[in-house]
């Protein structure tokens, strides 16, 4: 019983893996599927580098067991596409929202959920909403500019 078989969809592809029960979603993605864009910083929920979308909601992949994802749909940074994702990537690049890039996959996935809400955020609200993602090199001004700009462009695209 200490091995489990989990069937899930990752980046729209059906996947099955048999792994030790103690495997986290982050390790399943990285070690079993080679999706190393999901980064591991703290493994205690604090840094946000491991953020992925689980059934469309951002979660900590380091605090989610692979076994709990049976039947779920996971989207990682590698599979994040569409107009919102493109706008976010362009905004991060334009606004200087990254340096080493370690935090960036988590930042982009957290930003994606915000952008999808089509809701204007003040600077303070954007800071609060992104406070679960830590960046150790860029400073947050560029990141917050990029987040707000991607949100605004998303809203504009529909008006």
């Amino acid at each position: 019983m200490s091995e489990i078989t989990v069937e899930l969809t990752v980046n729209r592809r059906a996947r099955t893996a048999t792994v030790p029960a103690r495997t986290t979603l982050a390790d399943l993605l990285r070690d079993s599927f080679g999706l190393t864009g999901t980064h591991l910083g703290c493994e205690q929920g604090v840094c946000g580098a491991c953020t992925v979308l689980l059934d469309e909601l951002p979660v900590r992949a380091c605090l989610t067991l692979a076994a709990s994802c049976q039947g779920s749909e996971v989207v990682t940074i590698e599979g994040l596409d569409g107009p919102d994702a493109e706008r976010i990537r362009a905004a991060f690049s334009r606004e200087g929202a990254l340096q080493c890039g370690f935090c960036t996959p988590g930042m982009v996935l957290s930003c994606y959920e915000l952008a999808r809400r089509r809701q204007v955020l003040t600077r303070d609200e954007a800071c609060m909403a992104m406070s679960g993602n830590i960046c150790r090199c860029t400073g947050y001004n560029g990141i917050i500019r990029a987040v707000r700009s991607a949100i605004a462009e998303g809203i504009e695209s529909e008006s």
């Binding site: 103690r22 986290t24 929920g45 946000g48 979660v59 900590r60 076994a67 957290s110 800071c127 679960g132």
Partner: protein, 280 residues
Amino acid sequence: MKPAEFAYHRPDSVEEALGLLGELEEAKVLGGGQSLLPILNMRLAAPAHLIDITGIRALRRFEEDDSGVRYGAVTTHMMIEDGLVPDPARGLLPHAAAGIGYRAVRNRGTIAGSLAHSDSSAEWPTVLSALDAAVHVRSNRGDRRIPVRELLLGFFTTALAEDELITAVEVPRLREGTRWGMVKMARKPGEFAESLAITLVRPGETEIWLGAARDVPVRLAETETVLAGSIGPIALEQLAEAIGADTGSSGYERQRHAVAVRRALETARGETVRGAEVHV
């Protein structure tokens, strides 16, 4: 930073979960995992079995009636924050939920998991003590209802037996005419509170609860008495002294609690923005 080995179980029904809890040695319930996974990753605990209850549909339901709302155990903080379930406390529950950790944590963390974890600097223990909520608990031996105020016995210590499962959390409706104030002080957004003050103000009565001061949330009885006996606003030093008597805290800590309580009183009375969150 990886969990030690364990066997994983994913029951479909409460009965199956209770069966596993009754029969397996060294088993732990897994809710959202947002407190348990950090503990497992750091190997502060190494249970032999995890019983994941998030696949049990019956635990996701809610029921509402005139007396209040009963939430299934695996109701997430996000569901309360976003109003996907009713709020019997006129905005207090969504406000409290929105202040818990980060969105990604709130998407998985559950109301029952937070109570079973029993950290007095977390939101639900103090908020649900103040509201006099209760948990419904089941085991193979029978069912019982435990008021949250009696469930929480200390840091990470509750009245739950090893084979017991919280199946629902029942929150009574906030009485008509009661206004609430809530102030959480934390070093940064999303951190656990360094002070967590809840005030319930109704004509002729003010009730004050404080989290992050002791190992369990405390009702500030002495402070309430001092407030009731004073005409007009009282000085912060006097408030701090009363809170010291209620909690045993002193110095900067006591001052922090006094400021949190004063701001929560002001918000309940409508003197400042409702439930302002403060970061120190």
